[in-house]
Each structure stands twice: as structure tokens, then as C-alpha cells.
């Protein structure tokens, strides 16, 4: 009898817990909530995955989401207009990845006055001073960039190659960053360099022999004569042609050992600069000894990783960003307290790319 009762009790507890989880996102106001999502650029594959997460969350929570975003991440004025229009429509909440926080200040102020909660997602709304933004669902980019460095330098073959560097012929670890102003990419490179410096200097004989150069922001001479150089390369514009040309410059460097392509566009640039990755073929490619690590996902990058042309890559979780942001938005609209959610990042390579827990994070 006691056994039976305890089983029932357990069952009830599990059900209650499940209900509590489910309730986390439930809309209590009765009518269908209106949530406006505005990304940094509408076309990007990454945001399309986030929109999917948002749509799934919306379906689950019974709210209405509308997605929008400018043509390009640099089209700040277009995004300002879109956010203004969203505020004027008086939705229950706005979910936003700002192209430029300063130019949105007035609009965010208006949202706050109108009592419309704003939730950040992806790169969020960095440096918001209006207080309109209540919480953000995002990858911690410093951690994510660091994640790449740690996994790349942990590779024994990479270590062996980078340790060949001497004071006369230092080995090179290059970083291809799409631009030197975008908050998320800059933080990612920050994280990568910090972890890479630490990991490299911990290797035998490299303490004090690693320098960083290429772009002013990251330049850091080594204490002793350099044996390993970390070089940051930024193309003059974010057009496919310029990124490809910048990749080619990297592959022309002497004693190049590793490359980190810091976002999806940079990865595509590296792939198109290496004859669709065939130059990186481990067996007979002309760059077969160079280790490339990427970031994010996308069709070409996944192929390159599966074929072993890329050592691996770190993916963010755009689906979770969209999903969690809508959850936060609903809670904020219901006047519940909300706080930032780190949506995480994961290293994937040829070995684990097909694992279900990784596959779900990889988007086209």
C-alpha cells in the first residue's frame, strides 16, 4: 500500500514539475499576445533559424510573432524605421537585435514610455541607457570565441605544427574577422585571443614568445622575441569578393599554421578562397597542413567539416535565441521579472557533427 502511494506521489510530483515548466511561458492575459521581432538583417541564415525558434515558441505559448529586419546589418536607418513602426503599433513586447544602439535611443525611450518591454536577442542592444531592454537571450561571445581557441589549440597535431616556430621563422595563427566594429565579432575575437594567448604560452618554450598584430585594437607585442604570431586580418568591406581576397592574403602568409574564421561570411570566404575547400583536403590539398576553425554553421561549412577540411567549428544556438527571447518577452509582457539567458555555444567537428545534440544546432 505504502509502495503504491509513494508511486502515486512521485507521479503527482513529476506532473506538477512538468506543469511548472510548461507554465513558465504561458500567457496569462487571455487574448493573443502580439510580439514584434526585429533582427539585424532579415536575410541571414542565422536569423532565419532564430525566427524558427521564435515561431515554435509562439506556437507553444499561443502568441503571435511578427518578424522583420533590415536588408543588411549596416542599414541602421532602415532598422530604426522598423523599430519605430513596431513601437507605434503598440505590441505587447518587442524582441530586438540592434544594429546600432545609439541611433535607437529615442525609439527605445518611446517604447519605455509606452510601457512596451524590449527583449534583446543575439547581439542584443549593447550599451542601452534607456532601461527599455529588460533582458537578453544571447551567446556570450567572449566565451564562444574562447571555446574555439581552446579546442583548436588542444589538438595535438596543431600543437606540433605551431611549436615549429622559431625566433627567425615564427609560426602564424591568423584570424579573419569580417569587421572590426561589430560588437559580437569583436567580442568573439577578444575571447579567442585571450584564450589563445593563455593556451599557447602554456605550451613548452612559448611563454612570453607570442605576439598579436594586424589590427590596432588587439595588437600586443610579446615579452621576448616572438616564436608565434597571432595576426588579425579584416577585409575592407563585407562583400563576398573582399572577404575572399582577405582569405587569400592569409593563405599567402609564411609559416601559416592555423586560421580562425570568426563568422559565417568569413568561413564562406575561406572556403571560396581555397577552391571550395579542396585546397584544404587532408590527403593532397596544397594547404593540407593548415588547421582551420570556423564559427557558426551553414551548408558549405558543414561540408568542409564533414570532409575534414576544417578542424572544427563553434556553433551558437540561434534557435534557442529566438525561442528563449519569445519566452522572455511573454514573461516581461506579463510583468514578471526576467533576466539574461546565455544560449551557449558548442564545438563540433567531423566526429560529432551528426550527433543529435549537435545536429539540432546546425542551421543552413
Amino acid at each position: 500500500m505504502k509502495k503504491f502511494l509513494s508511486v502515486i506521489l512521485c507521479g503527482v510530483l513529476v506532473l506538477t514539475a512538468a506543469c511548472a515548466f510548461a507554465e513558465e511561458f504561458t500567457n496569462t492575459s487571455g487574448k493573443k499576445m502580439d510580439i514584434r521581432i526585429i533582427s539585424k538583417s532579415f536575410n541571414n541564415q542565422f536569423y532565419q533559424a532564430a525566427f524558427k525558434g521564435a515561431a515554435d515558441a509562439a506556437a507553444k505559448l499561443g502568441v503571435e510573432v511578427t518578424t522583420n529586419g533590415p536588408d543588411m546589418e549596416t542599414n541602421t536607418s532602415q532598422q530604426v524605421e522598423q523599430v519605430k513602426a513596431a513601437v507605434n503599433a503598440k505590441p505587447d513586447a518587442i524582441v530586438l537585435a540592434a544594429c546600432d544602439t545609439a541611433s535607437l535611443e529615442e525609439t527605445l525611450e518611446a517604447a519605455k514610455e509606452a510601457g512596451i518591454p524590449v527583449i534583446g536577442f543575439d547581439s542584443g542592444v549593447p550599451g542601452d541607457t534607456t532601461g527599455a531592454v529588460l533582458a537578453t537571450a544571447a551567446t556570450d561571445n567572449v566565451n564562444a570565441g574562447g571555446n574555439v581557441a581552446v579546442n583548436l589549440i588542444a589538438d595535438p597535431a596543431f600543437q606540433k605544427a605551431i611549436l615549429k616556430g622559431t625566433e627567425k621563422a615564427p609560426t602564424v595563427l591568423a584570424i579573419l574577422a569580417q569587421d572590426a566594429t561589430s560588437g559580437s565579432i569583436v567580442l568573439r575575437v577578444d575571447g579567442f585571443i585571450t584564450k589563445a594567448l593563455a593556451a599557447l604560452e602554456a605550451l613548452e618554450g612559448l611563454a612570453g614568445h607570442v605576439s598579436v598584430s594586424g589590427q590596432e585594437r588587439w595588437t600586443k607585442p610579446s615579452a621576448n622575441a616572438e616564436k608565434v604570431k597571432i595576426v588579425v586580418v579584416v577585409p575592407p568591406s563585407s562583400s563576398a569578393a573582399d572577404i575572399q581576397a582577405a582569405s587569400k592574403t592569409i593563405f599567402a602568409m609564411d609559416n601559416l599554421v592555423g586560421v580562425f574564421a570568426a563568422n559565417q561570411d568569413a568561413v564562406n570566404g575561406v572556403i571560396s578562397a581555397t577552391n571550395d575547400g579542396t585546397d584544404l583536403d587532408r590527403a593532397d590539398g596544397i594547404y593540407k597542413d593548415i588547421f582551420v576553425a570556423g564559427f557558426d554553421s551553414g551548408t558549405s561549412q558543414r561540408e568542409a567539416i564533414k570532409d575534414g577540411q576544417f578542424l572544427g567549428s563553434v556553433t551558437q544556438d540561434p534557435y534557442q535565441m529566438g525561442y528563449q527571447a519569445v519566452g522572455l518577452a511573454v514573461r516581461a509582457a506579463n510583468k514578471e521579472a526576467v533576466s539574461d539567458v546565455d544560449t551557449g555555444s558548442k564545438w563540433y567537428n567531423a566526429k560529432n557533427i551528426d550527433n543529435p545534440d549537435i545536429a539540432i544546432l546546425l542551421y543552413d
Binding site: P236, S239, D242, K248, M253
Partner: protein, 327 residues
């Protein structure tokens, strides 16, 4: 003596800018050879070629337009847009790859024809007509693609053969051969056909051409269709070179095409210009872009220098036009 006069006359006329462009190219090459990192290598040379294919095709088409006194601001977005729709044909409609390339061509020709109608028949100023078409192509091609990035088959896949035919066979830059072939096609069109003669004539004095009984509306439309043809070629080679086509990109590329024309001595006032000059202009731009990268200059300085070169080219054009007025 006569020869000497010939050369002097050539230098005083349109030839001067071409000579400057060649000089510029040589100086840039030597400069980057000294200060750049591995600039004088085969890889860098191929890299310069790679980045000049699509700008080359855009610029050949643009030369026709600029000689008529017009401009095409839509070529960059039409190029990417047509490549995007070709990608949709491949990925979504599952067309064979060859047919997809035909789709790219047809889309670009359609936009060229529309531009032609607007400018030729409806007499809209080319700047406005093609600016409108820039937005339309930017939007409509993305709508067709449902704002999804499209990926062309990679070299290794079964359909990757098209890249070997169009872009690169192992490490041999096949694209350069196509650029030469269509450079010759463009040259013949401009120099040896009625279309070419009317192109120059319309740019010099459209009223006179009209008065001599030639239907300029028809010929102008045709010039824009020819431009559409070259934009389509640019779209195909863009797809082969960069594989991943992102919706709503491509604006800004038209400026490189225009800059190439101007550097090569094509006058924005119309009536003057050559295809060979334009190709020189294309290489000045790609050598400059590749060279600045190989020097490891910070981005901002690369942008400044590219801007300076374009301005210098336009200045030469302005001075020449003023001189022509005075004489």
C-alpha cells in the same frame, strides 16, 4: 614625323587616360611587389584575376551604357539577384545546373530589357530608372528566394563541374579565358557593328541621331539589353566564384564597375570610351584591392585609398572634358 604626330594626337585625345591607366597599373604592381607580402607570386596573380571576373563583366556592360551618356545603378543587385534565383532553381526547383545558369542569364536579360524600356521608350533619366530597378531587383529576387541564402554545388559534388568550366580548372584560372572571350565579343559589338556606332552617336549627340531618322528608343533599349547580357555573365561567374549567394546583397558593386569605366577613360558625359580601357580599369581596381590587403594595412586605409583612386580618375575625366570644351 607623321608617326610622331599620330602618337601626340593619340595622347591628346582619348589615349591619354589609357596611358595613365597602364602607368598606374605598372606603378601599383611595382609598389606592391616591393611593399606587399608575397605579392609577386602566382597565387596572388590568380587572386587578382579571381576578383576581377565579375567586375570585368559588369564593367564591359557598363561601358556601353556610359558611352550612351547613361548609367546603370542596378547591375550589382541584378547580378547577385539573378545568381540568387539561379540558386533557387538549383536548390528548390531542382533544375539541372546548366538550366540554372540559363535562368541566371534570363533574369539578368529581363532586368536589362526593363531598364531599356524605362530609359529608351519612357525617356526616364537613366540614373533614376536604374536606381528604381536597383531596389526592385534587390527586393523581388529576395522574395523569389524567400530571403534564404542559396548555395551552388561545391567543386567536389556531381554538379560542381560547372565551376571547372567557368571559374577554375584545378588551379588554372579558366574565368580569365571567358573574360578575354567576352572582352573580344564586347569589343566587336562596340567597334564593328551598327549597334556600336549608334552607341557612340547617341552619347555624343542624341538629337542629331534622332533627326537623322534613327529610332534611338529602339537602339537604346538594345544597349540596355546588351548590358543585361553582360550582367548575366557576371551573375554566372559570381555564383561559380563565391558559391554562397546571400539575398539582398550586391549594392555597391555597380560603383566598382563605374569606377573601372572611368579609370579606363570612358567619359561619364557620354560619347567617349573603350572596352580595352575599361578592362585596364578593372585590373587597376583589383590590383589595388589585392595589393592593399597584402600590405596588411588597416581596413580604413584600404577604403581611403580606393576612394582616392576613383576620385583621381574622375578628376582626369573632368580636366579632359574642360580641355575639350576650350579647344
Amino acid at each position: 614625323m607623321n608617326d610622331n604626330n599620330g602618337i601626340m594626337a593619340y595622347l591628346k585625345g582619348d589615349g591619354l587616360q589609357k596611358v595613365i591607366a597602364v602607368g598606374c597599373l605598372v606603378v601599383l604592381y611595382i609598389f606592391f611587389g616591393i611593399f606587399g607580402n608575397h605579392f609577386l607570386t602566382q597565387n596572388t596573380f590568380v587572386s587578382i584575376l579571381d576578383s576581377s571576373y565579375y567586375i570585368g563583366f559588369l564593367a564591359i556592360g557598363m561601358t556601353f551604357i556610359v558611352i550612351t551618356g547613361g548609367i546603370d545603378l542596378s547591375c550589382g543587385t541584378v547580378m547577385v539577384g539573378s545568381a540568387l534565383i539561379g540558386g533557387v532553381a538549383y536548390k528548390v526547383w531542382h533544375f539541372p545546373i546548366l538550366l540554372c545558369l540559363v535562368v541566371v542569364m534570363l533574369v539578368a536579360l529581363l532586368f536589362g530589357w526593363l531598364n531599356g524600356l524605362l530609359v529608351g521608350k519612357l525617356n526616364l533619366p537613366p540614373f533614376i530608372a536604374t536606381l528604381g530597378m536597383q531596389f526592385i531587383s534587390l527586393g523581388i529576387c529576395s522574395v523569389v528566394a524567400k530571403v534564404q541564402t542559396q548555395t551552388y554545388p561545391s567543386l567536389k559534388s556531381a554538379d560542381g563541374w560547372f565551376k571547372q568550366v567557368i571559374y577554375k580548372y584545378h588551379n588554372f584560372p579558366v574565368g580569365a579565358i571567358w573574360l578575354i572571350v567576352f572582352f573580344i565579343v564586347g569589343w566587336i559589338l562596340l567597334n564593328k557593328t551598327i549597334l556600336g556606332r549608334y552607341t557612340y552617336a547617341m552619347g555624343s549627340n542624341e538629337d542629331a541621331v534622332e533627326l537623322s531618322g534613327i529610332r534611338t528608343s529602339k537602339w537604346k533599349t538594345l544597349v540596355y539589353v546588351v548590358n543585361g547580357f553582360f550582367v548575366g555573365l557576371a551573375g554566372i561567374i559570381y555564383a561559380a566564384t563565391y558559391s554562397t549567394i546571400t539575398p539582398q546583397t550586391g549594392n555597391g558593386q555597380e560603383m566598382y564597375a563605374i569606377a573601372a569605366c572611368v579609370i579606363g577613360g570612358t567619359s561619364l558625359a557620354g560619347g567617349v570610351g573603350t572596352i580595352s580601357g575599361t578592362i585596364l580599369g578593372v585590373f587597376v581596381i583589383s590590383v589595388l584591392k589585392t595589393g592593399l590587403l597584402s600590405m596588411g594595412l588597416p581596413v580604413q586605409w584600404q577604403q581611403v585609398l580606393i576612394g582616392v583612386v576613383v576620385l583621381l580618375a574622375v578628376l582626369v575625366d573632368v580636366f579632359r572634358a574642360q580641355k575639350a570644351k576650350r579647344t
